[in-house]
């Protein structure tokens, strides 16, 4: 049985496309009929939860009660794929709690695999946060380049935690098209399925990102296969995460 992924969409910086990536991932998984649950950890502005009210729950993890609401639910449901949209103000707090309560070990014990999709940008604080996260938490981290945020991707600053991680690239969209996908009623999956009047910029953009997700799933699967066959080295054991 394959471990159920827990995708954590994260960045220490605001407005880098975390909610957009979480939206895309939800629609990708939904289009493949995967059982999934989302958690919106943006207490001030729960845009993801508003967009998917039946799939995504807003949670405030600044309180212990909120942490129980999130982490106790995460480990209670071992079958669904989970997507967490982690608001930037809670970046450090979230990973501190994860470390302290031993969430990663417990998730793995229950055949779930936390995967951080880290949206990169060239700011020194982001580079530092990435390095700290890598050194402090033994978890799979996949760097994501959102071309609307950073044109260049400094590979040496954002190395994945294993060869299977690679990276995810979100191509830049023109401003007009961006306005279309930001509409509350817009659905990537539905738009892709309709193909009204042949492929458009949006079609290509969505298809490209969904391909990135497919590639990531395949790479992670191959990583697990190689690991179980004793190839590709052991996972780095960095700390009690």
């Amino acid at each position: 049985m394959q471990p159920a992924p827990i995708y954590i969409v994260a960045s220490p910086r605001p407005r880098v496309g975390k909610t957009l990536l979480a939206r895309l991932l939800i629609e990708f998984l939904y289009s493949r009929s995967r059982p999934l649950v989302g958690y919106d950890l943006n207490p001030r502005e729960s845009l993801l939860a508003e967009r998917f009210p039946k799939l995504v729950w807003p949670v405030d993890i600044t309180s212990t009660r909120g942490q129980m609401e999130l982490f106790d639910r995460l480990i209670a449901d071992t079958a669904s794929t989970k997507i967490i949209d982690l608001g930037s103000p809670l970046f450090d707090h979230f990973f501190d709690v994860i470390r302290e309560i031993g969430f990663v070990q417990e998730a793995r014990r229950l055949s779930m695999e936390p995967i951080v999709l880290f949206i990169t940008d060239p700011a020194p604080t982001t580079v530092r946060s990435y390095a700290e996260l890598r050194s402090r938490l033994a978890v799979t981290i996949v760097p994501v380049q959102n071309e609307s945020v950073s044109v260049m991707f400094a590979k040496e600053d954002f190395q994945g935690t294993g060869p299977e991680c690679g990276m995810i690239r979100i191509p830049r969209l023109s401003a007009i098209v961006r306005g279309v996908i930001d509409r509350p009623s817009f659905s990537f999956g539905a738009y892709l399925a309709k193909r009204q009047g042949g492929p458009t910029e949006i079609h290509e953009w969505i298809a490209q990102i969904f391909n990135e997700f497919r590639d990531l799933e395949l790479r992670l699967l191959m990583g697990r296969v190689n690991s179980s066959l004793g190839r590709g080295g052991k996972r780095e054991d960095r700390s009690a995460g």
Binding site: T64, R65, Q67, M68, F71, D72, I75, V97, E100, I101, G102, F103, E106
Partner: protein
């Protein structure tokens, strides 16, 4: 077989977390497979006994009968470690009683290990207690415990005051108990089980339970830190061999902030 060890956990002030520290000690020795018994002096209704009913008896440490029950059985009991959770206000009288019954002489002769965990409160009064108890602690291992579990801030202790008191105790060693998440602490209280049992998600009778994973995680992490302190002072070695904690930092030089 190692010498019998008596650990007194006490303070003259109430509400500083004596029983919590005694509970962590019982869990620590359980995890190290050291047979341990405990006496709760909160007669008639003991708090320690509520959490560790199998290892704990309630006694009145000022009564001769109960003193006999504790100290006359030190060498014959199955447990090599005896923990006495001394009720608020009874630390000095208990230490005096130990002197009077010749217990401290036996310690001096090396027949017994004697360890004192003196739990400190935030007030200057707590520091004054040190002077009273230190006189009885000459041949014991004397640990001064700063307990942050109930969010105590040692606000009355400026560096100079702290140093002046602690300088008088050249062999005392400082131990810090960190704060535990309030809700986690409350849940363990409600469950009335040892911390270890809570972490293992078990009830008082060993049955499976459904405590919050988050709260169990907080307790596990906290207990690990507390035991880290006990490892630092080489507590396990102290009770198994009676050796002096060679590497543990001395209090008078610490002045921890």
């Amino acid at each position: 077989m190692s010498k019998p060890t008596v650990i007194v956990v006490g303070a003259d002030k109430g509400g500083v977390g004596k029983t919590t520290v005694a509970r962590t000690l019982l869990d620590y020795f359980t995890a190290h497979h050291l047979p341990t018994r405990a006496f709760d002096t909160e007669s008639p209704k003991g708090t320690l006994k509520r959490f560790h009913p199998e290892h704990c008896d309630i006694v009145d440490v000022t009564s001769v009968a109960d003193q006999m029950r504790i100290f006359d059985t030190l060498t014959s009991a199955d447990a090599s470690v005896t923990i006495i959770d001394v009720r608020a206000g009874l630390l000095s009288p208990t230490l005096r009683a130990l002197r009077d019954i010749g217990f401290l002489d036996a310690v001096k002769k090396g027949q017994l290990n004697f360890i004192i965990f003196h739990i400190l409160g935030s007030s200057i009064a707590s520091l004054n207690e040190i002077e009273d108890t230190a006189a009885f602690a000459v041949d014991s291992k004397y640990f001064l415990v700063k307990n942050f579990i109930n969010n105590t801030s040692f606000f009355e202790w400026d560096q100079a005051t702290h140093a002046s008191y602690f300088r008088k105790l050249k062999d005392a060693i400082e131990v810090t108990i960190p704060k535990l998440n309030e809700m986690a602490y409350e849940q363990v209280e409600l469950a009335s089980v040892p911390f270890l049992t809570f972490v293992a998600n078990k009830g008082a009778k060993g049955e499976s339970t459904n405590y919050s994973f988050v709260l169990r995680g907080y307790v596990r992490h906290w207990l690990g830190n507390v035991w880290g302190e006990y490892d630092r002072i080489k507590l396990n070695e102290l009770v198994t061999s009676g050796a002096t904690p060679a590497q543990a930092p001395r209090v008078q030089a610490v002045g921890r902030s």
